[in-house]
């Protein structure tokens, strides 16, 4: 049984958030640091340079593979991850992998889990995965059904906040003001409208499922920890991973980690864990930044920072969203959640 308590680490260095593996007990080092990692997604796939989803999926699945002792099946929704890993006749997947449709990955995973259960193969575990469109929009009904039945599936959403595979169209995970191909940066209210969208982790929690967590590719230790913890439980589990998309967000391909970190440090993307509908753990902001620092790096928000006039009102409105998260989840210092 894997010990899932986080280890307190004393930093030998300052000025860095990177925890070197050599500072950890061997048992706690990352899956990726091990020569024995499964390489669930091998190199040679067709993801863009700097793809957050490819990184997140590799860490998530290798961690899940280790937790399952290699007895893992992955079900994939249609999307970037599916397309860039299986250019016919090649495949990057080193584990049994099934792609059916865009909107049915949770239900397909239910079927896979049922088949192994009925065959007495309790050792085989099932992961389903999809992007934000496949999760929060078209696959939402099937996902809610899988949650409600508490089927033994870990569902991982790789959230890059739009339909990237089809050319960056708005999804219900697209943030306000963001430019996409269907929320153009034109007119009096450029970009995506305020007051829309859904918060999938909170919706998942409302199903009272055993485990819900959020993570980003900026903290891969945390990501592996949460996947490992999810795999130690049974029933329906949900992990929502923010995976920046250089193409869709208009960020430099070497900025993926930094952008994801700023999403967390600004309060826009709270990191937390919840069990049976109750939040059990919140990752505090280490060094708070204003949302501007996060937004400025992304061309999808470039219209907020035009040379003629910075759109202070819109930036303030986004800051208020971050502040609301900070209060709601108690992201700062010892502050209590409200």
């Amino acid at each position: 049984m894997t010990d899932t308590t986080p280890q307190t680490i004393k930093f030998y260095q300052t000025g860095t958030h990177t925890v070197g593996n050599r500072l950890l007990d061997e048992t706690r080092r990352t899956v990726q640091a091990s020569m024995d990692r499964s390489n669930a997604i091998t190199s040679g796939h067709r993801a863009c340079q700097g793809c957050g989803e490819a990184l997140g999926a590799r860490y998530a699945l290798d961690a899940a593979m280790r937790a399952a002792g290699g007895q893992l099946v992955a079900v994939n929704a249609t999307g970037c991850l599916e397309v860039f890993t299986t250019p016919y006749p090649e495949t990057s997947w080193q584990l049994p992998w099934l792609h059916s449709l865009f909107g049915n990955a949770p239900a397909v995973a239910t079927g896979v889990a049922a088949a192994f259960r009925v065959k007495g193969r309790k050792d085989v575990r099932v992961v389903a995965q999809g992007g934000d469109g496949g999760t929060t929009d078209i696959g939402f009904g099937c996902l809610s059904g899988m949650f409600e039945r508490n089927d033994d599936v870990l569902y991982i959403c790789y959230d890059n906040e739009a339909y990237m595979n089809t050319g960056v169209q708005r999804s219900s995970a697209t943030p306000p003001a963001a430019r996409t191909a269907t929320t153009q940066a034109i007119g009096p209210a450029p970009g995506n409208v305020f007051g829309t969208g859904k918060n999938m982790p909170l919706i998942a929690m409302a199903h009272n499922i055993p485990y819900v967590a959020t993570a980003t590719v900026a903290d891969l230790h945390d990501l592996e920890f949460k996947v490992t913890k999810a795999m130690s439980l049974s029933g329906a589990r949900y992990i929502h991973i923010m995976v920046p998309c250089p193409l869709g967000w208009g960020t430099a391909s070497d900025a993926t980690i930094n952008v994801a970190r700023l999403a967390v440090e600004s309060g826009l993307f709270p990191l937390f864990e919840a069990e049976h509908g109750e939040i059990t753990n919140v990752r505090k902001i280490r060094t708070q930044v204003k949302v501007e620092a996060y937004l400025k790096l992304q061309r999808r928000f470039a219209h907020l920072f035009s040379k003629d006039a910075i759109d202070v009102d819109t930036i303030d409105a986004i800051q208020r969203m971050a502040d609301h998260n900070i209060r709601r989840f108690g992201l700062l210092g010892d502050g209590e959640r409200t």
Binding site: W97, H99, G111, V112, A114, A115, F116
Partner: protein, 415 residues
């Protein structure tokens, strides 16, 4: 064992005898009694080693079956009408992935206007999805076809739809022979998948295929159906050996040998057609019928052999292709493409309208003297539709057609 029971219950028992490992259920009339029946058999322990899963939609029902089948479990579900349309994307997907799922269709009309009664619009809409489609003439055949369907599906790794008329069969009580477990076990070997999700031998299933290979993959889908053309009669033959009765096959012929007029139809209406044929034969009319059991694959050669000696063909079908006419009739015509035989299309029984013996006899008599139009709607209220056509032409905001027709039929036709 002969027993008086409802068609749906009989099918539920037949399915259970096939030892499905995963059954997904979502209610829709008139199929619901079937999955209720299977669920009860799982819950009372009659059907052991089966996961019965209540899902949130038909799309999920077939998707769960897809996952279960890909993981090597014998999988079953049932649906009808709007439910089949709601799962349409998964219907094509299951066939494309080559997953031998068996699904019952309790045939029902498609809305709008919403209608819960029987016709073949639902399964006909999925005729080209790559599934094998078998149509049961009687409840006994529905029972037997399900047992054959699992064997057929698994031998070919191709999904099979067993279509039975909603209400007319699903809700009809009659005396049926339900086989024993030993008989079914002797006929149906355990499921040996040709592909499966196995951590010890990992495959990627459902990868993207581009223009360089897509045509070849689709060609093979057609080839699978052609193999089924050979396998369906073979399996029917083995079935007869084990169970002692004929069921299934590609087509059933009735008094066709010397027939000048041959009626072609699918499903339960063949019972009424045969009665009319018997009556007309007593008056010396040379008439017979062919019931198509396998609509996909479509038995072109067998039909041609059965029909080519006639002088005319009358297709009675419970489906239509707006803008063309029938759906079954053009398929039948295809089998007769090297003949000059007239093929009359008669659309009948839409949305559950009764197909009466007298109406059929009228049509067959008109056909006998070649006075049938190419396309006819059986028992159509011509006055009502003419009235509505005129009203819609003369009033811009003419309102909803369905409601106006209803009002007319109720005798309160508002001018």
């Amino acid at each position: 064992m002969l027993k008086q029971m409802e068609g749906s219950e009989a099918v539920a028992r037949a399915v259970a005898l096939c030892r499905p490992e995963v059954v997904c259920a979502y209610p829709i009339t008139p199929q619901t009694h079937i999955v209720e029946g299977v669920g009860a058999l799982v819950k009372n322990g009659t059907l052991a080693n089966c996961e019965f899963i209540n899902v949130e939609s038909e799309f999920a029902a077939l998707s769960v079956a897809i996952g279960a089948s890909a993981a090597g479990a014998r999988s079953y579900t049932a649906t009808a009408s709007q439910g089949l349309l709601f799962m349409a994307e998964a219907v094509y997907n299951a066939a494309g992935l080559g997953l031998p799922i068996v699904m019952t269709i309790g045939n029902r009309a498609i809305g709008a206007p919403i209608n819960i009664w029987n016709d073949h619009s639902d399964s006909m809409s999925m005729r080209d999805a790559g599934w094998i489609q078998l149509y049961a003439e009687t409840n006994q055949e529905a029972v037997d076809l399900h047992i054959q369907a699992f064997r057929l599906a698994e031998e070919l790794s191709c999904p099979v739809m067993v279509c039975m008329d909603g209400f007319i069969l699903t809700h009809a009580y009659e005396r049926l022979d339900i086989p024993t477990q030993e008989e079914v076990d002797a006929f149906l070997p355990p499921f040996e998948p040709v592909q499966m999700l196995d951590p010890d031998d990992p495959y990627s299933i459902g990868a993207m295929v581009g223009p360089e290979a897509f045509t070849e993959v689709r060609y093979l889908a057609n080839d699978t159906q052609l193999q089924a053309l050979k396998l369906i009669p073979e399996i029917g033959g083995v079935f007869k050996e084990v169970f002692g009765r004929e069921s299934g096959g590609l087509i059933h012929q009735y008094k066709t040998d010397d027939a000048e007029t041959i009626v072609v139809a699918l499903g339960s209406v063949n019972g009424t057609i045969k009665e009319v044929i018997d009556d007309m034969r007593e008056h010396g009319v040379a008439i017979g019928s062919v019931s198509i059991c396998s609509f996909r694959p479509f038995p072109l050669d067998e039909l041609r052999n059965a029909l080519a000696g006639a002088k005319r063909i009358v297709v009675i079908e419970k489906s239509m292709a707006p803008g063309l006419g029938g759906i079954v009739a053009p398929n039948v015509r295809m089998s007769l493409r090297d003949t000059a035989l007239p093929v009359y299309t008669v659309i009948a029984g839409l949305g559950g309208r009764s197909i009466t013996k007298s109406s059929l006899q009228e049509v067959f008599e008109a056909a006998g003297v070649d006075r049938l139009p190419n396309l006819q709607f059986l028992d159509l209220d011509h006055a009502a539709v003419e009235h509505e056509i005129v009203r819609a032409r003369t009033t811009r905001r003419s309102g909803p057609t369905a409601e106006h027709i209803l009002r007319q039929k109720a005798g309160g036709g508002k001018k």
